[in-house]
Amino acid sequence: MTYEQRLTDFRHYVGTGGKVEATDWMPDDYRAGVLKFIEMHANSEMMGAIPEREQIPHAPSLQRKMSLTAKVQDEVGHSQLLYRIAEDLGKSRETMYLDLVNGRSKFHNVFHYPTRHWGDVAVIGWLIDGAALVTQAALLESSYAPYTRVLKRICAEEQLHLRHGEDITLELASGTDKQRAMFKDALDRWWLPIVHFFGPKSNVGKDLLLRWRVKTRTNEDLRAEFLDRYVPKILELGFSFPTPVPFEFEGHWVLREEDIDWAPLDAIKRNQGPETARRLELRRSTYEQHAWVRQALAEPATQVA
C-alpha cells in the first residue's frame, strides 16, 4: 500500500469516528499534532498548579488549606498522566521539560497571570475549572483513544474541583462586603483571560486537529457553551462584568467580537505574559532542586543483606 493510500484510509477512518491507538499506524502530521496538543495540556496542568499553590498559605481555614492542597496535587497528577501518554508518541519527558522552560512549548494563557488573594482561588476554582471542563468534556470524543481514557479520569476530578471552587465562591458571595469585593476584584481581573481561554475563532478549513477529530468542536462553540452556562450564575449572585460585557441575544449569552481585546493573548503566545518568566523560573528551579529524587528513583532498588 502506498503512503497516499494509507493516508486516504486513515482520513476516512478518523473522519467516520474511528479511534486511534498509540501502536496504530498514523500519519506523521497526526502524531506531531496530537503530541503537541497533549504536551500543551500536560504543561498547563503542571503550570496551572502554581497560581493556586501561591494561595495555599493564605487559606482562611485549615479545612480550606487541606482541600486546596489536595486540588493542587490532583492537577500535578493530571500532568503526570498526560506526560506519560505523550511519551508514548515519541518524545521524552526530559525533552518536554526542557522545551517548556526554554519557551519552545506552550501552556494555557490563564496560568500566565498573578494571583492576588483568596478571591482569585474562587474565580480560578469555579470559572477557570468550569471553562476547562467545557473544553475537556468536548475532547472525550477525540479520535486519539489513549487521550480520551486519561481525560475520562481527569474530567471526573475536575467535576470535583468545580464543586470545590463553587463552594468557595458561594462562601464569599454570601459573606461580608469585603468578601464580596474580593470576588468582584478577582472576577474583574480574570474575566478577559477566561474569554481568551477558548482561543480566537477556529479556522475550520485549516485546523488539522479539527479535521482529524483530535478536537471535535470549534473554539467559538466552546466559548458560547461556557457563556450560556456561567453568565446567568454569576449574575444571579449579584456580580457585574467588566469588558467584554456579555449580553443576551436570541436566548443566548454572547460577546461582541469587537469588544474582545486580543492583545494580551498575543503577548502570552510569545511567552510575554505578566508572570510567564517568573513561573517558568520557578518550574526550572524546582525541577533542578528535585534532581536528587529523580536520580534516586531511577536506580532499581538493591537488596540490603
Partner: protein
Amino acid sequence: MDVYEVFRRSGHKQPFEHCGTVTAPDSAMALLMAKECYLRREEGQYMWVTRRSDIHSWSDEALFEPAADKSYRFAHAYRDVVRKRELARRRAGQL
C-alpha cells in the same frame, strides 16, 4: 526506567481492568507510582503492575476475524422460538 502497565480491581465481583501506565525503575516503585496516580479516591482495592515488554499481543488484529460463519456461538442464532414452540405443541397434539 521502564514503562509499566497498571491494572486494578475493585472488590471481587469485577475482573482486573487496565487503568493506565507509569514510568518506573522497578516493580516496587511502579506500584508506588501506580497507587499515587490511580488509587487517589478508593477506585480499587487490588493492583497489579507489569512491564509493558512482558505483555504479548497479536501483531495483526485481522486474525480476530472468524475463519467461517460461527453465528451458532451467539444467542441470535436461536430466534423464532414462538413459531418453533407452536410447531412442537401441534406435533404433541397429534400423539
